[in-house]
Subunit: 231 residues, 4 copies
């Protein structure tokens, strides 16, 4: 079932090592079929070199395996929590890509330092707080999803305008309207993180970009008055 | 029309990802036909993998499309402003290459720290100021060109001796006698930016290279007494 | 003899340059045959491009050559000392990979800054002290093994839970149940080292990850209740 | 004439871009034929992609072209000065490789922070002083050679034990018994420079490696008691 989407999820997963975002099995991509609500996700701990489209696991929205002989990613409950809360999400990426993960380990949001960032993220990339000991002990992966949602809620962030977040001491999640766009945003995040670190090295007292520049770049690519691209 | 130049502009665009200067569609190259004054430029938001020579858009110097079925790059008005002011320019590159863009985000000119820099840029690579809210709101891309010109004017810079500039919080523009040379200068800029960051990390109180060394290296490659290369 | 293991050791050695862990001949991998106690190791100073499975040297546990026409790696006594002390080790890697070696040169243990680290190393990656002048003068390579053991002993470290250590001013050793896993841990160490440096650059007052998060990630991959992977 | 050596010099030149040491034409390799004293060197400003063995220029030791239709590298007088002073040199590399050049731009010698360095350089990699305005104005490239010699003399350095030096605000020269070994040392220098920068970032108060460790590593690879490699 859902063979076309299965292939798209497989392709999105295969793109992670090609873009230098994952070492070994440290990442996964999922997608949602909007009609049935089913979630398709990478199986846990399978090498990218060995991964085949048929290995992609199909789950219902409660996370029960509907199709596939392999265990889904151990991060599945995080994906499910995000899909449940945000109906517009069609794809999610989890990765330990080095530049973004270093900001997560540093427990800092990535400031909006320039137009490369503003073209895709309408504000800083937020960093969710550490989980409590209790949240770690029980339903860790589900709670990882909840703390991302809590972070976006507290900051009043529209997830379709800021398509990603860092998890303190862990890694990043990015998302989009489908799996391919979620991967695209993971690549953007890694580049934005790399440049933010360099920017602060070059000028330790640097300030974020002004709001007018952020708005200009975000809205020339997104929304009703966008004029970037072929329309 | 202008098929040879169209191919040259296509090749120059394709060189950007090959040199690691662009991710996705974050860059563009244009060239001017000196005889007609026409400008040839990459279409907006087209993937490099899909770009074909026939996709290059031909414009007159006021920016009206003369040939081509795609929208020109959204940065076209910046290119046009630079061509209008500097009659010797034959090619321009815009890029978000990470090392140079980090200096732009840090809002600092790149000091001339060594002969690699002096071989191609006769002084620091300047960083144009942020645009005002008004300049962003109306004719943003045209004003980006004007602020580069303002910066070169204020510093008394000859654009053929300092073939590039940074735009605060944005990215870089480089140029040259043709599209290929503009790409060459974009590669030089990225290397020079990378080494300048490292240089300040290694020695936070480092000083720029002396003028005598700058002059020696610049003029052994450029001008009537040049003796580098095969003459 | 031991042709299958010889091929595995050759493959593990060939993986080092492929993962970017060695320049020229700066690294070596060994394995132990648990039945005979024999050690198989790369020959000294042989280029990876020229290395063949038949070049792998077979030694008894005292280090006498049993098979092979080439001299074993000059680091062999370090490998032997570790195998002698830790009966569970089946493979060892020595490398001068740049990120981990820079921590060794800085004489600092790598703090546990995140889950990528905790997935494989149950605590900081320790850094062994400098050898004394006497330890360098006589049996240098053997003493290098002893000082790693001393370090793990002093810190109460289980080598199967913290599968690697840095040697002050030198490089790293990693290990595992076999040669392939030792290489895997060398790749992890390099990534963890890279991110630790970036993490401290981004936030100079960063703190290590809490123990609860370390435990969660380590034990979801290792031990009786592990649920990562396909079981 | 000297066709075998010409091919070796061509191969050594071609190795520079393969090892990531040069961008465009920013580097050159020469070799000396010990019998005739002739010097073979890359022609000036020729792209590596276009370079052929027959393009290598043959000079006598005073620098007069004996064979070849192209101009020799503009850095030829530096090479000649070093060959004239050091009879054991058989090959020299000049490069602007980013890590080493950043130390040159920072005007700092590279401290001996570990065994990777000590395996090939018996002490810090020295940094020659800036040339005076007079030395730049007249015979710049020849004076670049003289200031390297002055530096080694002042520090009592044996060039066969410390096979390279930095030139303030410029780049590096490395050398060896032949062109291939000079390239090998250029690769070592770049790695050593990369790790020295990282080492100081990780530990700003780091100290150089002790002399006993330097001696151990240098002499296990070099001299009558060497035991590294296949003898």
């Amino acid at each position: 079932m859902l063979e076309t989407l299965k292939t798209a999820v497989w392709e999105a997963n295969m793109a992670l090592p090609r873009y230098g975002l994952v070492t070994f099995t440290w990442g996964n991509v999922s997608a949602r079929d909007h009609e049935t609500g089913h979630i398709l996700i990478k199986p846990s701990g399978v090498d990218y070199e060995a991964l085949k489209p048929g290995d992609i696991v199909v789950l219902d929205k409660e996370g029960r395996v509907i199709e596939g002989s392999l265990r889904p990613s151990s991060d599945t409950p995080t994906h499910l929590a995000l899909y449940a809360r945000y109906p517009d999400l069609g794809g999610i990426v989890h990765s330990h890509s080095p530049q973004a993960t270093s900001w997560a380990q540093a427990e800092r949001a990535i400031p909006l330092y320039g137009t490369t960032h503003a073209d895709y993220f309408f504000g800083p990339v937020p960093c969710a707080r550490l989980l409590t000991q209790e949240e770690i002990a029980t339903d860790y992966e589900h709670n990882t999803g909840l703390v991302i949602i809590e972070t976006l809620d507290n900051l009043g962030i529209n997830p379709m305008h800021t398509p990603g977040a860092l998890c303190a001491k862990h890694g990043s999640f990015t998302w989009g309207k489908d799996a391919a766009q979620a991967v695209y945003h993971a690549v953007v995040l890694e580049e934005v993180a790399r440049m933010a670190t360099l920017t602060e090295t070059i000028n330790p007292s640097v300030k974020p970009a002004p709001e007018a520049l952020r708005d200009k770049h975000f809205y020339r690519k997104h929304g009703p008055d966008a004029y970037y691209g072929q329309g």
